[in-house]
């Protein structure tokens, strides 16, 4: 658990972070969202003491972080940034192994961990491990960056716009991977982004920041339904708020489930349980269908979802 208590950070006369309180529960993904210069990165960098705070208290699991040795503190906090900051003179494997090395893990355990992470992030332990960072695409480099952050098996993950510089498709893919990895690992995560859609997608709770203050700290659904101010309303975009709400829930939550799974008709289209309601609606509009079958991961038809259900119960 990370607790910020009336934390302030000044740069000269300018106040970057203004007396904020924030609690991030264990295992939760807290996304700090806001426009550039709102203090979200500053807040993040105070948590691993890359920046000292001007006043206030930051506690990790109840301990003031200023009492710990800064290096020991950071070794237990994975850190991934937008520009990746991969070490250009080291191979991918050595980059990922940097924290295990700093923690003085035996070489065998480190190498196992590196392979495990390469696979987890969808990289090839054979061919990608021996590459140098300049041989990677932007998306691959960012995957390595995330793998490196996870390598020491830290309790806390700090991510500063890790997908900000990627193209839309790669970003979407990596967000999916993040969700999958988070379900597997359950790290307490603080994630900084300026992209509200990314925030809505990844967050357990979102903290909207503006001019160094936290305007609203709530679940994605509450932020969409009850924005605390005109600023938040603007940020989420009034126009497609309904669609964004649909995007938060999965087909599996809304569908009418059959008592017994049925065998799928060959070639029949269908949704997956994990698909979002927004996706379901889009498919229905495209196909002009009023009802679509839903398939489980195993490929059996487990229920149906209708257009009326979507419109009435979706948002």
């Amino acid at each position: 658990m990370i607790e910020l208590k009336s934390v302030t950070r000044r740069f000269g006369d300018a106040v970057a972070v203004d007396d904020i309180d924030l609690t991030v529960e264990t295992g939760e993904v807290c996304v700090l969202v806001g426009s550039s210069g709102c203090g979200k990165s500053t807040t993040l960098r105070m948590i691993n003491r890359l920046l000292p705070r001007t006043s206030g208290e930051i506690l990790v699991d109840g301990e003031d972080i200023n009492k710990a040795d800064p290096e020991a503190l950071r070794l237990n906090m994975g850190y991934a940034i937008q520009s990746t900051g991969l070490f250009p003179h080291w191979t991918v494997a050595r980059n990922i192994g940097v924290v295990p090395d700093l923690l003085k893990w035996p070489a065998g355990k480190r190498d196992e961990r590196v392979d495990e992470l390469l696979i987890l992030l969808g990289l090839d332990p054979e061919t990608d491990a021996i590459k140098y960072p300049h041989q990677l695409s932007g998306g691959q480099a960012q995957r390595v960056g995330v793998a490196r952050a996870l390598a020491g098996d830290p309790n806390i993950l700090l991510m500063d716009e890790p997908f900000g510089a990627l193209d839309a498709i790669t970003r979407e893919n990596l967000q999916q991977e993040m969700l999958r990895i988070q379900r597997q690992l359950n790290k307490t995560t603080v994630f900084v982004t300026h992209d509200i859609d990314e925030a809505l997608k990844l967050a357990t709770r979102i903290a909207v920041m503006d001019k160094g203050k936290i305007i609203q700290h709530d679940t994605p659904e509450e932020i969409l339904r009850r924005p605390a101010s005109a600023f938040v309303e603007n940020l989420i975009g009034k126009g497609d708020r309904g669609l964004k709400l649909l995007a938060l829930r999965s087909v599996g939550e809304l569908m009418e489930r059959y008592p017994q799974p049925r065998k799928r008709e060959p070639n029949a289209d269908g949704l997956k349980e994990a698909d979002s309601l927004r996706f379901a609606l889009s498919v229905m509009v495209w196909k002009n269908a009023s009802r679509l079958p839903v398939n489980s991961e195993a490929g059996e038809e487990v229920g149906t979802v209708t257009r009326e259900q979507l419109l009435q119960g979706g948002a």
């Binding site: 691993n48 890359l50 520009s83 990746t84 900051g85 250009p88 003179h89 700093l102």
Partner: protein
């Protein structure tokens, strides 16, 4: 291994030439016809070569140590205030001609190798310092930020990240400095240091072109050999820390 071929050939030919020059009287009698003193004989060329290399080596070692430490010091948070001062001192070392440094050093340190070493160290500092600063400041700030964010201590950041990444640029600075000092060391002969400048000075004083030529050929070849040696080291470095 191919990168080491050129420096090895050059070093071998330098040693062979230093040994065989005395037997090449026919060539030098063509350069300096009608003279009996065709070959410089006060010292053997190999002795001169040895002491020349020794002077350059010691001055380069001291210069590298001082300039790299100074460069590291002024790029740390606690030393940043000294950056202008240190670069000024190094620039002054470069602007004063080595002859003037020699002239000033003699009353203080006497004749011989000491004042020569002093002048060489002073003269060689700037290229190394300049490149150390350029190399350290040229590292992508995101790399340093993430190194620190991963939990490296400042010493670990320096040894594992900064120096390997800046190494090639620093090495290029040492290369410039050493190459300049191979030529500059010859001037040490004017104040009694034994270098390959001896035959050159003696030749100039006595109007003996053969002597001048013998010294100049060896100095030139030494500079070439050293330069290609550095080339090979730099390439090997680049391969070890491919960036």
């Amino acid at each position: 291994m191919r990168v080491w071929l050129a420096p090895l050939v050059l070093i071998a030919s330098l040693c062979l030439l230093a040994a065989w020059l005395p037997t090449m009287t026919p060539f030098f009698s063509w350069v300096e016809p009608g003279s009996d003193n065709l070959i410089y004989k006060r010292d053997s060329f190999l002795t001169l070569l040895q002491s020349h290399i020794w002077l350059v080596l010691v001055s380069a070692a001291i210069g590298t140590l001082v300039a790299v430490s100074a460069g590291i010091f002024v790029t740390r948070p606690f030393g940043r205030e000294f950056l202008p001062l240190v670069s000024q001192i190094a620039s002054i070392g470069q602007t004063v001609p080595p002859v003037a440094v020699l002239a000033l050093a003699v009353p203080l340190m006497g004749f011989g190798e000491k004042p020569t070493l002093f002048a060489l160290v002073l003269y060689g500092l700037l290229p190394i310092l300049r490149n150390t600063l350029a190399g350290l400041n040229g590292i992508n700030p995101a790399v340093l930020e993430s190194a620190k964010g991963m939990g490296m201590s400042s010493v670990q950041v320096l040894l594992k990240v900064e120096l390997p990444l800046a190494g090639r640029v620093i090495l290029a600075g040492i290369r410039t400095s050493v190459t300049i000092n191979i030529a500059t060391a010859a001037i040490g002969s004017t104040i009694g240091a034994r270098t390959l400048g001896d035959p050159v000075i003696a030749g100039l004083v006595n109007g003996n072109t053969a002597y001048v030529l013998q010294g100049a050929i060896l100095i030139g070849l030494l500079a070439l050999a050293t330069d290609s040696l550095f080339e090979a080291v730099e390439r090997t470095w680049a391969r070890a820390f491919s960036a």
